[in-house]
């Protein structure tokens, strides 16, 4: 699995803008201008549309399942052939009016229903992990960057340690050792635990740059407390970085959740998850490619959409900053 934060971080460091000079003396672009620039970007619009579809799918899952007629856990023995090892009956893994995306081999569960419910898992975990990571990353990055010295040393060491850690191995080990209840919350915590240093490192760097700027001294000379300087003076200047970084982090976490589920330590069955569906489709892909194709395509497109979206937002934010 690609644990994307590393890559983001690497890019952030060398790719320029977010690390560059976040608070360059440019007028903040008005929201409307940004929106217009965004809407002109066809790729960004297409990706947002797809993400919106997945979100709606996740939200309306019970409704959609009502429409399609099969719940995500419902077996349908009639749809599979017991004599062929439980192979779905019919073309494309049993695609038809009854089962829109076909059925799972073996038990005949409806793939459409499982995709729809799987979207819930993917989105919830990725978004929550992003939120938690961002909070941790921003706070620790700000604190380390602003206070410097010993505080910075401790936080930096911890970050170094977390980044040196083989996170994937560890996540799997911890998740498989822990009891299965609250697996989703656990996933969020574990993913965030290893994810925050990548954002924090960038926030720290920018904070150190921003701290050099005279408006910080000016606030200090005006009697601002450290907390006020950090959250009222410095934080607003990091907003575009944070937006860009978090958007770019979401696909990483979607991938991580699916990857962990793929490896069998993600959400607990029978809760459907895309990664898990892909894992169980592995033995079947030669005889029933549709079973692999649907979750694979949904997952790939979701990750791609978030990546492209993040990329576009980054470009727009950069051009907004570059133009005076």
């Amino acid at each position: 699995m690609t644990f994307t934060p590393t890559e983001l971080e690497a890019e952030g460091a060398a790719g320029g803008e977010p690390t560059g000079d976040p608070a360059s003396a440019r007028p903040p672009r008005s929201g409307r201008r940004l929106a217009r620039a965004f809407l002109r970007d066809r790729a960004a619009v297409a990706c947002s549309a797809y993400i919106l579809v997945v979100v709606l799918m996740a939200l309306a899952a019970p409704l959609l399942v009502e429409l399609s007629g099969h719940g995500p856990l419902e077996f349908d023995q009639a749809a599979v052939d017991s004599d062929l090892g439980g192979l779905p009956i019919g073309w494309g893994g049993g695609i038809g009016a009854d089962h829109w995306f076909g059925v799972e081999p073996g038990n005949g569960r409806d793939i459409f229903a499982r995709i729809v419910y799987g979207a819930r898992v993917s989105m919830t975990i990725a978004l929550l992990a992003t939120a938690l990571t961002s909070v941790l990353g921003v706070v620790f990055g700000l604190v380390a960057g602003y206070f410097g010295g010993r505080v910075d040393m401790v936080i930096s060491r911890v970050m170094e340690f977390l980044m040196a850690f083989p996170a994937l191995i560890f996540m799997i080990a911890v998740l498989s050792a822990l009891p299965a209840e609250n697996r989703q919350a656990l996933l969020v915590v574990v993913i965030s635990f290893f994810g925050w240093p990548y954002l924090a490192r960038i926030v720290r760097g920018q904070t150190m740059t921003l701290k050099q700027r005279e408006f910080v001294e000016s606030a200090k000379a005006s009697g601002a407390s450290s907390a006020q300087i950090i959250f009222k003076e410095i934080l607003p200047n990091l907003s575009s970085t944070i937006i860009v970084m978090t958007t770019l982090a979401v696909p990483g976490y979607v991938g991580t959740e699916a990857g962990l589920s793929f490896l069998g330590v993600g959400v607990v069955p029978p809760t459907p998850s895309w990664g898990q569906m892909i894992a169980s489709s592995v033995p079947w892909y030669a005889v029933d490619p549709a079973y692999f194709l649907f979750p694979g395509a949904f997952l790939f497109l979701l990750v791609l959409s978030f990546t492209v979206l993040g990329d576009r937002i980054k470009k727009i934010a950069e051009s907004g900053e570059a133009r005076s």
Partner: protein, 332 residues
Amino acid sequence: MIRFLVNRLLGMAVVLLLVCLFTYVIFFVLSPDPAVQICGKNCTPEAIDRIRANLGLDEPFRTQFWTFLTGLFAGRAYGTGANAIECAAPCLGYSFQTSQPVTDMILQRLPVSATVAVGAAVLWLLAGVAAGLLSAVKEGRFADRFIAGLTLTGMSVPNYVLALSLQFLLVVTLGWLPFPQAVPFAEDPGQWFLNFLMPWTVLSIGAAAVYTRLTRANVIETLQENYVRTARAKGLSPGLVWRRHALRPALTPIVTIFGMDFAGLLGGALITETVFGLNGVGKLAADSITKNDQPVIMGVTLLAAFLVVVGNMVVDLLYTAIDPRVRVGSAT
């Protein structure tokens, strides 16, 4: 320089110690009693006690951890009397499942992981830098946009999805490639290459995409540097400006990132090795996790962390060698 080195080594030791401690605590606290597992199905409380004593599990945590650390550097012995087993340094303990020395298990798997890692790294470095350069040269043109699309795709495709798709297409359907097996190079270079081609591709695609973007961004940024303008003002040919003044500064950061990524990879590509059934360190990790084989998990984790930390240090030193600003102190 020596001072820098010493500092760096100390920092590295601290991080590794933290990794050790953290891993040890987690497995110590979270894991089910390994003695019960080892004891098997016809177990008595006395047998469990004996196993615990043999493994040193009856000692307080601090003593256990200390024994583990000394085992790493000086070796240690398990059990007593006729059945005592000497474990030479660096001793990572014995697998609970197979009773193999963990160090040997890892060493046996390392060549496969190294092959996978080196091949993938070469592939992504070459492909990434080449595509990045092309993209930078053709900035804004079709080739650039095309590559940008490819890199986004490459970054987004989860590698197990890619692995399975490739295997389905190239092996099952078209039969162009064999099911990957760890064929040693010396045995059959051709087969070796064919067998490892897919793992390399899968493993390198995401990184190649990132390197493409990095290279492109760095080159474009470097071209805007004042010293590039100076070079042009001196009347240097574009080729010379590129070669001397744009590439070196643009590629230096990539070298550093490459060092870290590569080190991370050496510790085992868990998913790729698992999906393709290659018996590398990554697969060892995955297998021992399912078997809750704590010493092996610890060993692999430590190895991976060690490689990353060492990789970081090598990169730092390399950076010092490459960048005169770091190498030679300021005169003022």
